[in-house]
């Protein structure tokens, strides 16, 4: 029973952390890209969304190079925090953030672009500073884009396999997520062990998607 619950908890932990991080970073980047004029905007944007089209193992390989003991980021983390992220939960979180980020970025950006500038301007003339405008007007008006971004990022993080395996491995009780547990059960010829996990994931995903579709239809009908 333990090895059935454990991968679920690890998956939920990684996916939640990754969604929060990807959401904050993705929203900040989307806001920056819609408001600020920077040179090479298109190139930066392409680079940011690249993990979406790359094979996950390629992303994982790149992350290993960056985060590994001899990688530039790995060295810095080791020197400052005495921290090693490869083959840890944080490695899995970073892998999930990188693959989920483009989904947040694209959806939030689309949401922000639909926000009526005049409503933001009106808020300013009513005495609201930039932070208040962003949190009370811009974000609520971009809400549909934010929710799509969050849902897609969460499901993408839950399903992440390739990059996570490369960066975090599949250590039972530490980094073994649902997809890993399923894969290795089957590989070891223990198909029956994978059944409850697979059922769990299908039921959960069904309800999430069902809710999301219902919610989007409701949003479309209430907003003209």
């Amino acid at each position: 029973m333990d090895n059935f619950i454990e991968p679920i908890l690890i998956s939920l932990k990684i996916a939640s952390l990754a969604t929060i991080l990807a959401f904050v970073i993705g929203t900040a980047c989307a806001r920056l890209m819609t408001r600020v004029n920077i040179p090479c905007k298109e190139a930066i944007e392409t680079l940011l969304t690249l993990p979406m089209v790359l094979p996950p193992t390629v992303v994982g390989f790149g992350l290993l190079l960056l985060l590994g003991r001899n990688g530039p980021i790995g060295k810095v983390l080791a020197a400052i925090f005495n921290m090693q992220v490869v083959f840890t939960l944080w490695g899995a979180v970073i892998a999930a953030v990188v693959v989920a980020f483009p989904l947040v970025y694209i959806n939030v950006r689309a949401g922000l672009e639909k926000v009526d500038v005049n409503q933001e301007r009106a808020a300013r003339t009513l005495g609201a500073g930039e932070l208040k405008v962003f949190f009370t007007i811009t974000l609520p008006l971009a809400w549909p884009g934010l929710v799509s971004g969050i849902v897609l990022a969460f499901t993408r993080s839950l399903g992440e396999f390739g990059a996570t395996l490369m960066v975090a491995g599949s250590i039972p009780g530490q980094t073994q997520t649902i997809p890993m547990a399923v894969y290795f059960s089957v590989m070891n010829g223990e198909t029956q062990e994978a059944m409850p996990l697979v059922t769990c994931v299908i039921v959960f995903s069904f309800f999430l998607l069902f809710w999301f579709n219902w919610w989007s239809r409701k949003m479309i009908s209430t907003r003209r």
């Binding site: 009526d116 005049n118 409503q119 301007r121 009106a122 808020a123 300013r124 003339t125 009513l126 005495g127 609201a128 500073g129 930039e130 009370t136 007007i137 609520p140 008006l141 809400w143 907003r223 003209r224």
Partner: protein, 240 residues
């Protein structure tokens, strides 16, 4: 008193504004595309002039020479947008209260309840902007602007989106508000009926210089204004 003296370059032409406003209704009139809204945007701080000075009651809001540019939130100007720009995601009560600071002691001052009763929108408080008619939206926008206790109100074509019968009653209400609050208005319009609200009307004056550049100016020159039954008028003929 609002004092304005600036130049703003647009892709097609340059707008120049030179006027002052006391406790009165100043109308900027001119055809669409003559830069009227640009002038309002510059006053509110939504757009920035290329050069010049804007000051309100002695406080400099914008000055190109000394690098002053006060954020719109600190300019203390109410702005009634042409499309009203009501917050879609908030109900009417939250819309009108957005810029309102609840006073520590109730001294019979402005409150959302009072102003909504005054503007006859108190039955709409729980609704959303989507569910309002044009006239109702206009009243809500006024209530929201007034509750932020501005020292001056900017109005962009406040009546043009409304049908005829509504226009007349709202016009009277605008005059009433101006009178009761002793609040200066700067109103922009292309419609003569709306322009008649004004104590002073500045018509867009379009000139083309010898290099082919177009300049549209809104200039107040009290010396050459004609006096017409207590109201000073400068007729909007130069552009037609």
């Amino acid at each position: 008193m609002l004092e304005v003296h600036f130049i703003k370059k647009l892709p097609e032409f340059t707008v120049s504004a030179e006027f002052s406003v006391n406790e009165e209704i100043l109308v900027l009139s001119g055809p669409s595309g003559s830069g009227k809204t640009t002038v309002l945007d510059c006053l509110a701080g939504i757009q920035n002039p290329d050069s010049g000075v804007i000051s309100l009651n002695g406080k400099t809001l914008f000055s190109s020479s000394s690098g002053i540019n006060i954020h719109p939130s600190k300019r203390n100007m109410g702005y009634i947008f042409q499309d009203y720009a009501l917050f879609q995601h908030l109900n009417i009560k939250d819309n009108i209260s957005y810029g309102w600071h609840k006073p520590k002691k109730d001294q019979g001052e402005l409150s959302p309840d009072k102003i909504s009763a005054l503007l006859k929108i108190d039955h709409l408080m729980e609704r959303y902007p989507d569910q309002l008619s044009g006239g109702e939206k206009q009243r809500v926008a006024m209530a929201r602007g007034l509750l932020s206790t501005p020292s001056l109100l900017l109005l962009d074509e406040p009546l043009s989106a409304l049908d005829k019968s509504l226009r007349h009653s709202l016009r009277a209400e605008l005059e009433q508000i101006h009178h009761n609050w002793k609040l200066p208005f700067v109103l922009v319009t292309h419609c003569n009926m709306e322009a008649r609200l004004g104590n002073v009307i500045l018509a867009a004056d379009k000139t083309v210089n010898d290099r082919g550049k177009t300049l549209v100016s809104f200039q107040r020159n009290d010396n050459i204004l004609e006096s017409l039954g207590g109201k000073t008028l400068r007729l909007a003929s130069s552009l037609n």
